[in-house]
Symmetry: C2
Subunit: 349 residues, 2 copies
């Protein structure tokens, strides 16, 4: 049994107005040749009958569904809400819907998730790749977010510049010894961030880098990082590569009797949702997700609608391979270095 029609379709409008379906279609889309007087009548009748175009019918005919797939390495990632919200906004502003595909951290699941989305007929994909994911595979347009490694089809936050922002911030506060806190030495993103910090600090402060993951591999997960020692050695600032690690640094320092930011400044990265709520609120740097999403979606839409240049792999080529600047959020965990009472602790001046 074919489904009984719920709402008005083009045929109903055409019948009510005594014209043909094609005319109604043309009138509504403004494409063919329709008399100027008829257009408002069609519009009004469509409104009155509560017409909503059948996306299925249109999709079948045009081959386009008006849906974009959003592929994420792991929805549980705390950065994801920002991305998802921005993408959803950008897409729906452009008249597209967002179908989500989660790969739950498994990169083999990721290609499978991509396949499912493609089979569902998405017009394009926005992919946030997991380290070491092969994307192309399919012949549908793809925009990649935040994988600075694959050039040409990518839009990402300018991690280097973000790091430089932090570096300059700390330099301006007069810090002379800054500990850089990374997690995984293999992460391109983290190295970009750290490189930006080092560059902005060079000439102002000496830096040292501590990697958490290798250290935990040795001493056990969740072990003390020994930040108190660094503070005792005269480091007055700790710049972490993520808010998560900044919080960890903050608590560890605090526990060891150092005050933030009076004794040691601490900075993070990414501005997670809680970063402004804690006391003291975390100084951090955030990506302009709205803009990143807008660029990703619009370049995708350009390819989908106008036939833009697409290389043989279906990857978007013409995209301004953008690096979107990040923004410093100076809050309470960073401040000027205080040398009031060096003898408070056993630091040597």
């Amino acid at each position: 049994m074919p489904p009984q029609k719920q709402v008005a379709n083009l045929g109903d409008i055409a019948r009510a107005l005594g014209v043909s379906v094609a005319t109604v279609s043309n009138a509504l889309s403004g494409k063919g040749r329709v008399s100027a007087s008829l257009i408002p009548r069609v519009r009004e009748m469509a409104d009155r009958m509560g017409y909503v175009p059948s996306l299925a019918g249109r999709a079948l005919r045009t081959g386009r569904t008006g849906v974009l797939g959003l592929v994420l390495p792991d929805i549980a990632n705390p950065l994801f809400p920002q991305i998802a919200q921005a993408i959803e906004f950008a897409a729906s502003s452009a008249g597209y819907g967002i179908l989500i595909g989660d790969s739950r951290g498994d990169s083999s699941v990721q290609t499978e998730a991509i396949h499912r989305l493609v089979e569902r007929g998405v017009d394009g994909l926005v992919v946030v790749p997991r380290r070491g994911t092969r994307i192309s595979e399919s012949d549908c347009p793809v925009a990649v977010i935040d994988s600075p490694s694959t050039p040409g089809n990518t839009v990402s936050a300018d991690h280097w510049q973000g790091g430089a922002l932090i570096g300059a911030h700390l330099a301006a506060f007069g810090h002379r010894r800054v500990l850089l806190l990374g997690n995984n030495p293999a992460s391109a993103v983290q190295n970009d961030r750290l490189a930006g910090m080092r560059d902005a600090l060079s000439g102002h402060a000496e830096t040292e880098t501590l990697w958490i993951e290798p250290l935990e591999a040795e001493r056990g997960v969740g072990s003390v990082l020994g930040l108190a020692d660094y503070a005792a050695r005269g480091f007055t600032a700790i710049a972490a590569v993520s808010d998560l690690h900044a919080l960890r640094a903050f608590t560890e320092l605090h526990r060891a009797g150092f005050r933030v930011p009076e004794d040691v400044s601490v900075t993070g990265f990414d501005d997670f949702s809680w970063s402004g709520v804690i006391t003291p609120a975390l100084t951090t740097v955030r990506a302009d997700m709205q803009r990143i999403a807008a660029i990703a979606v619009s370049s995708l839409v350009r390819v989908i609608e106008g036939r833009d240049n697409v290389d043989e792999d279906g990857l978007v080529v013409s995209t301004e391979a953008a690096r979107v600047p990040m923004q410093l959020i100076a809050r309470q965990t960073s401040g000027p270095v205080r040398r009031a009472s060096p003898e408070d602790n056993d630091k040597t001046e």
Copy 2:
């Protein structure tokens, strides 16, 4: 110009095998009468030609798109990843896709978001309502998550029981004075949680409740909550209604010189993604989102596929109006009350 076909369709397979499209369709779906010998041949040919059914064609014919809409009050909510991931998993296991609709906190946007999803032809909606949202409106099946107020069509975590879990946990640790930290006194969810805590603590400890939002309305957002005073008055545990507020409590206490959990235990709610990663890891309670999502999706699917009972508003009725039990995650921020030096504070033993 009609889009040139990319992949094989039913017609191609039929031609290659010298049979009719209807037969191929029947063979693949196992519906009509097809000779047993033909079925594997069709299957194999379909595989070999890389056939993927056109969802658009099927949707047009059957009126079903195989897509569920997920409507969220605010994607930026840190609880969202859990929900989205669980729903996506449940839906894709059932062969459905998930189209997201965010209302960015605005409840008027929410109805509009719902409309967009319905126009896109979703077969059903999973709605996480914002306080005071009218849902029905449309005639498509709806499952509501986590709004305990509207009974009958809802699946939610058992917030009361979750609160009781926390209460019992703190009682077992010997706490005698517990500060309950809520945000908005008007929230049904929060009141459920607090009621559960109070019930489990009654007879073991006295409780007092502090609401953040009213307090911030008075003193300004982000102001100090004065938790140190409570601690000084002999409160040895602070049970928050969300991990966010627990983190805030933790940092504020920490700053005031109290140690967690040695001096004061702190507990949260919801187990956000970062709660186990921070140091010290947060003791909290989490909802079994997998199960909640499975119930929501399966009841939706039952309505969509079999014609289940649906009331005049299109809301799913037959659903076991489930309250899914929550689970205690005891980590590092809670511990036994230490009475090593009772004269530290003015508590009387």
